[in-house]
Every structure is written in structure tokens, then in C-alpha cells.
């Protein structure tokens, strides 16, 4: 397997959605290709960091303000009638 092919399959490899045979081939590539090993590891880490450290958290004060605004708008609006 070539590095370019490894990269093509990287998504599915990280998501665990490959069949066993292809997964084994990719794992084998990682045992000797240091570059792909690092790319794979750091890409996985990238996803984890973004998942675990959620950016753009909604502050509580803003949250309360938005809730009030939404509820007020909903109260003065009529649901669209069934078509």
C-alpha cells in the first residue's frame, strides 16, 4: 500500500468503518511508515481536541436572553397551518 492510498482511506480508518481486510492492510502500513503513523495520530488527536474542547459555548446570561426572546416570538406567532 502506498501513502497516498493510506490517506484516501484515513477517514474510514479513523471512523472504524472499514472492513477487516482493508483495516489490516492500513494497520500494516502504519507499522513501517512513520509519516503516515504521525499523520494518523495527529489527525485523530485533532478530532478529539475539537470534540472535547467545544468552542463557542453559549454563556448562561445570553442563553436566558435568547430563551425569553424566542418564547415571546413564539407566543405572538401562529403555527403554519397544515397544508
Amino acid at each position: 500500500m502506498k501513502c497516498s492510498q493510506f490517506l484516501t482511506e484515513l477517514n474510514d480508518f479513523l471512523d472504524g468503518s472499514l472492513d477487516q481486510k482493508l483495516k489490516a492492510e492500513l494497520s500494516e502500513h502504519l507499522t513501517w511508515c512513520h509519516n503516515c503513523y504521525i499523520v494518523c495520530n495527529t489527525t485523530k488527536k485533532t478530532i478529539e481536541i475539537y470534540r472535547e474542547n467545544k468552542i463557542y459555548e453559549l454563556p448562561d446570561t445570553l442563553r436566558a436572553k435568547l430563551h425569553d426572546a424566542i418564547v415571546t416570538k413564539c407566543k405572538s406567532s401562529k403555527p403554519t397551518p397544515e397544508s
Partner: protein, 212 residues
Amino acid sequence: MGTIQTNVTTGDTSEELALIQSAREGDIAAFEQLIRKYDRNVFRIAQHITQNREDAEDVVQDAFLKAYQNLKQFQGNSKFYTWLVRIAVNEALMKLRKRKSSKTVSMDEDVETEDGSVPREVADWSPNPEQQYRQAELSEILEKTIQGLPMGFRTVFMLRDVEGLSTEETAETLGLSVPAVKSRLLRARLQLRERLNRYFKKKKNNDGDQSK
């Protein structure tokens, strides 16, 4: 090497379906519970797309109002969360279009050549690289980094990897094909990785050389 676990906690429970039913009949308290459940997600999505706090606030309000008004159109054949996200994405794109009045903004605008996916710099990271930074610094790094990506890339990454939608749901939400979502996701992941190198890579010595 382990795989990434996606924990999707957004399947429609019977409890949620009951709330939707009550809200449909005009029960605003029931709808408020749905707001409470998903407002953080909608706000994040709006921020990611518009990259503007005021716009994001508007999008949250408009998206929930639109959802409320159109609850009768919600068919149980997709998840409520996915349906809501689709409304939010549309509202956010509309905001963007208003800002960039003349230019049309669409998910297809930033299709690039295929070579965005070839890693240029391969550098190993220090173990637990995020722990080198305080939480506020880390958030700033993560925001700055993802903001540099084309809108279509960062939106796919955010929906798929951060909000936990499946590839199919992401495609449906954005009006893209499954292969288009996959190719954007790969490029988004690799580009983010590359951009984070400068913050997370192992230092060869301790003098903090910034010349590179």
C-alpha cells in the same frame, strides 16, 4: 490504533416525541424544553458558519421560531435534531448572504483542487499537547484555526466530528452528496491537523524558536 467513538445522544426518544406533539398543539412550555435541549448546538453551528456573535444570536432565534412555526411539517422520518440543524444551517447561510450582499454563498463555493489533502509538514506532537495551554488560550487557538478553513469545510467538520451527525445526515443537512461530504471531511481534518502543528508539535529544544 483505536478508532474515534462518535457518541450521538440525539436519537428521538418517546419523551421527545411527546414534547414535539405538545408543542405542535401550541404548548410553549413543551417547546421550551426542546429549546433547552438543543440551543447550545444551534448556537455553535450558527457561530461556526457566520463567525459573528450577533448574527449567531439572530440565527438561534430565527431557527427556533421557524421550527416552532413549522412543527407540523416535521415528519418523524428524520430526527428532530437533524431537522432543526437543517433549519439552523439555512438561517445561518441566509445571514451570510445578507452580509456579503452581492456574492452568493453556498456550500459549493469553495471547492478546491484535490491537493489540499496532501500533508506538507509531518511533525509529531507532544503528548497531551492541549495541556500546554490554559483553557482560554486553547479555545482561542481552536477558534482561530478553524476560522481559517473555507466555510464548506469547517461546516462539514463541525457537523460530522463535533456535533456527531452521521455522514448521511451531514449530506442531507447541507444538500451535498455523501462523497462530497467525505472528501470535504478528509480535507478539513487534514488541514486542521496541519494548522495545529505550530501550536502542538514537539519542540526540538527549549528555546522556543519561532523562526519557522
